[in-house]
């Protein structure tokens, strides 16, 4: 009895706070909402134009939506990756974003009417040019490099960049992917659960190269004034990664949710992505990229599997990867 009362009390307490302004609930990944992520700037920017209270709920976005189903309190989700949009779409919980995707300046064509990209980057191996004198100039050179070259990668089963590497290798080597992995595996010093641990190993000098993004050097250049960290650009192409947002069909704030989808492609939002998220904005206009950011080397070729292809490749590519490491 006492417990029910207590729970009811908590309920009332949240309801009372929520009464003042309409609340837009946005589910976002953990990294998003810290003061070092893009969340605070987005919240501030949107609240200036919406006369509402934007509330981020940070955590595992898709598992949570899948657990909650149509009872979810989310009005909008942000920070999903293309590797999970197929499963997210299958829930039937999401509504069209209503934006003109022709305005996007992505290196690939994007026509999805539900999931709206707000930033992008490409996978790349990052190294320190003062420590690695002869970095591989192509993916093939990386495979052929001596096994004393040590790299850190992420586990495709727990990390989006790890999964992107599987698809990258698949995109470059196709049916020859198992052979490519057989050559790469001995250079892999370790496989970490997430990107952070790998990158930490790299900045501590433990590995020569780390699986990261073409945009990673921007942080070091701009925030640390350090030009020693470089992304190796391979002529075979780099795998495209984007983070997307979507609004929910069952939202009780449909106008606010739509307004937020509009806001995502606004200049205010897109203009701050570069340094808030250390990735390219989905729309690049003059002034959106700091000079040093804009000067980053770009690959000639971008590799991308849409969600249907990626979903079909996921399991076989994972099995090939596991087989390469089982030896």
């Amino acid at each position: 009895m006492k417990k029910t009362l207590m729970l009811a009390g908590l309920f009332v307490a949240t309801a009372a706070v929520a009464d003042e302004k309409p609340v837009l609930t946005v589910y976002a990944p953990d990294y998003f909402t810290s003061e070092w992520g893009p969340g605070p700037a987005i919240e501030k920017g949107f609240e200036e134009v919406c006369a509402c209270d934007l509330k981020f709920v940070a955590g595992d976005v898709l598992p949570r939506i899948l657990l909650e189903g149509d009872k979810t309190e989310a009005d909008v989700v942000i920070g999903l990756n293309t590797d999970v949009t197929a499963r997210a779409r299958a829930t039937g919980l999401f509504a069209p974003h209503g934006q003109d995707t022709g305005a996007l300046t992505l290196p690939i064509a994007w026509t999805d009417d539900t999931f709206l990209p707000f930033n992008w980057s490409e996978t790349a191996f990052v190294y320190d040019r003062t420590k690695l004198a002869n970095p591989p100039q192509s993916f093939q050179e990386l495979l052929d490099a001596p096994d004393s070259l040590k790299i850190a990668i992420q586990d495709p089963r727990s990390s989006i960049s790890g999964l992107a590497l599987l698809l990258w290798v698949k995109g470059v080597y196709g049916d020859k992917a198992p052979e490519a992995w057989a050559k790469l595996a001995p250079k892999v010093l370790t496989v970490t659960p997430g990107w952070s641990e790998s990158y930490g190993l790299f900045t501590d000098g433990e590995v020569d190269m780390v699986l990261s993004y073409t945009t990673s050097p921007a942080y070091h250049l701009i925030a640390e004034d350090d030009d020693t960290k470089v992304a190796a650009i391979f002529p075979e192409g780099h795998y495209f990664l984007t983070e997307v947002a979507a609004q929910l069909k069952g939202t009780d704030q449909p106008e606010l949710a739509q307004k937020f989808m509009d806001y995502i492609l606004s200049d205010a939002f897109q203009g701050m992505i570069a340094t808030a998220n250390w990735s390219y904005p989905a729309i690049i206009k003059p002034g959106f990229l700091p000079e040093k950011f804009a000067a980053l080397p770009r690959p000639d070729k971008t590799i991308f599997f849409d969600e249907t292809e990626a979903e079909a490749l996921r399991q076989p590519a994972l099995d090939e990867w596991l087989a390469a490491f089982a030896k």
Binding site: L7, W36, G37, K55, R157, P193, W195, E206, A223
Partner: protein, 513 residues
């Protein structure tokens, strides 16, 4: 009859609460999944690897802890108690922090390899199954050492005096005093470490070197995150519960009852033995100290420079974590005491207390989320759920520490207490608490330390604002701020250790011996 009922009602309540906390969420996940799903071949490989590494890690930790505990028991030197406390630090380190420290020493560019290279010797690699085991020994050697040391200290001084007066040499002391003591302490120590290593997750991931080092806990995480296969996650979680119960059954069969009888709490006399023993003890202590303390030094060295750069948000996260730790400690002790006191007579009490050790925090969090979701906004439960989960997760360690001493206490003093009609609160105050002060203090230290490193269950309940220190650390790393992350790691370690040390000291001072 009524008295007997009263005697077990409290432990039964605690046991029901703990078992419910572990099993009900698992049930909720199973119901949601629509039943258990079949395991895959890879899951069985993960189970094999998990059992193998857990057994090996536990065996090595116990084996190495014996000479260290014996040396620490036999020798007195300046700074001994500080050293004992400090050497406990690795066990309470959050995994992510410990891995940073281990890599700084044993990594490819670590101090050890730099030294080997300078000497022209071949270098070593920490990555691979042996790295996982090295890390586990690093974590658990302190726990093993402390548990065994408590055992040594519990041998009454009178027995040692008798041994000396009978002219026992080291071999005879070993056979008649130390071996029986080890028989009653070692199985429990092995069990505790085996179970910790069973659910190892982050260590196996980062130091495992690749997917061959996949543990069951990692398979649960992947079933949940990568495949969203709740049924498989639940099946794997159930496998962990069964392994736990089986290990518990084996350990309790092997545990010998204490047989020394009560002493008079005289100051123990040391029989140092000859020069060979001195050298042996010196090596054991110096070796353990170097192994355990250098990574800790490395974390401090790496973290200190950026300490002033930490933002106010980090200090707020510190306060959250500290509050969480204090509340969790109280709750843990409130559950641990009745369960440990009942454990020697009722097997179920020990079983319930050990269960949370193998509860997958991901399944626990998901299950609680599924249960709470229809009634209340999960975000409002972020802290209570974290608190409850942490109290449950640290309970097994505290109970494990208490049980051997409770056995001794009951064997030695039950009849005396009964003849004095010492019961209820008076018994608790005059007999139970003072005799158990040391393990209670140590246990309180552990349970204060655990929530400090916790990340596990909070994600589904996160309200986006409440931030614990380890979560802030991860967010810093995720935002490229590796230096500040190292500073946060150093801070996290220092705070955790300070909490642990304070509780441990209080326990020491409260012990009348």
């Amino acid at each position: 009859m009524a008295r007997r009922l009263r005697e077990i009602s409290l432990p039964a309540l605690a046991a029901a609460l703990v078992a419910g906390l572990v099993l009900v969420p698992l049930g909720a996940v199973v119901i949601r999944a629509g039943g258990f799903s079949a395991l895959r071949g890879a899951d069985l490989a993960a189970l094999r690897f998990t059992l193998w590494q857990a057994a090996l890690s536990a065996a090595l930790s116990c084996l190495l802890a014996m000479p260290v505990a014996r040396a620490l028991n036999r020798r007195r030197f300046a700074g001994r108690s500080v050293l004992i406390s400090l050497m406990g630090a690795p066990f309470i380190l959050p995994t992510i922090v410990a891995v940073i420290g281990l890599i700084a020493i044993f990594g490819r560019r670590g101090a050890l390899n730099a030294g080997l290279e300078a000497l022209g010797l071949p270098t070593l690699t920490i990555y691979g199954a042996h790295g996982v085991i090295l890390a586990h020994v690093f974590f658990n050697l302190p726990l093993a050492t402390r548990m065994i040391l408590h055992g040594w200290q519990a041998i009454p001084a009178e027995r040692m005096r008798l041994a000396a007066s009978l002219g026992f040499g080291p071999a005879q002391v070993q056979r008649h005093l130390e071996w029986p003591m080890l028989r009653s302490v070692l199985p429990g120590t092995f069990l505790a470490i085996f179970l910790v290593c069973l659910t190892s997750f982050a260590v196996a991931l980062t130091l495992g070197g690749g997917p061959r080092a996949t543990t069951v806990e990692l398979a649960i995480y992947q079933a949940f995150r990568f495949d969203f296969d709740l049924g498989r996650a639940a099946s794997l979680a159930l496998v962990q519960v069964f392994v736990c119960l089986a290990a518990l059954a084996v350990a309790s069969r092997l545990t010998a009852p204490p047989a020394f009888g009560a002493g008079l709490d005289r100051a123990p006399m040391r029989f140092g033995g000859g020069r060979a023993l001195l050298v042996q003890d010196l090596l054991a202590i110096a070796g353990a100290a170097a192994f355990l303390l250098t990574p800790i030094g490395a974390i401090v060295a790496r973290g200190l420079p950026a300490l002033p750069d930490l933002s106010p948000a980090i200090w707020r996260a510190c306060a959250t974590s500290l509050g969480l730790a204090a509340a969790s400690t109280l709750l843990t002790l409130a559950l641990a005491l009745p369960l440990s006191l009942a454990a020697p007579r009722h097997r179920w009490a020990e079983g319930a207390a050990m269960l949370p050790m193998v509860a997958s925090s991901l399944v626990l969090g998901t299950g609680l989320f599924l249960i709470a979701r229809p009634f209340v906004n999960p975000a409002t439960l972020a802290l209570p759920v974290t608190l409850l989960a942490n109290a449950a997760l640290s309970l097994p360690f505290v109970v494990r520490l208490l049980i051997p001493e409770v056995r001794v206490l009951q064997a030695d003093y039950d009849r005396l207490a009964a003849s004095l009609n010492l019961r209820g609160l008076a018994r608790l105050r005059l007999l139970t608490l003072p005799r158990l002060a040391r393990p209670l203090g140590f246990g309180a230290g552990l349970s204060a330390a655990f929530p400090m490193g916790d990340l596990g269950v909070i994600t589904l309940f996160s309200d986006g604002e409440t931030r614990t220190l380890p979560l802030a650390l991860f967010q810093l790393m995720g935002a490229y701020r590796m230096d500040q992350a190292a500073a946060a790691a150093c801070l996290l370690m220092t705070l955790t250790f300070a909490l642990f040390w304070a509780c441990d000291r209080i326990g020491h001072h409260a012990d009348p011996r």
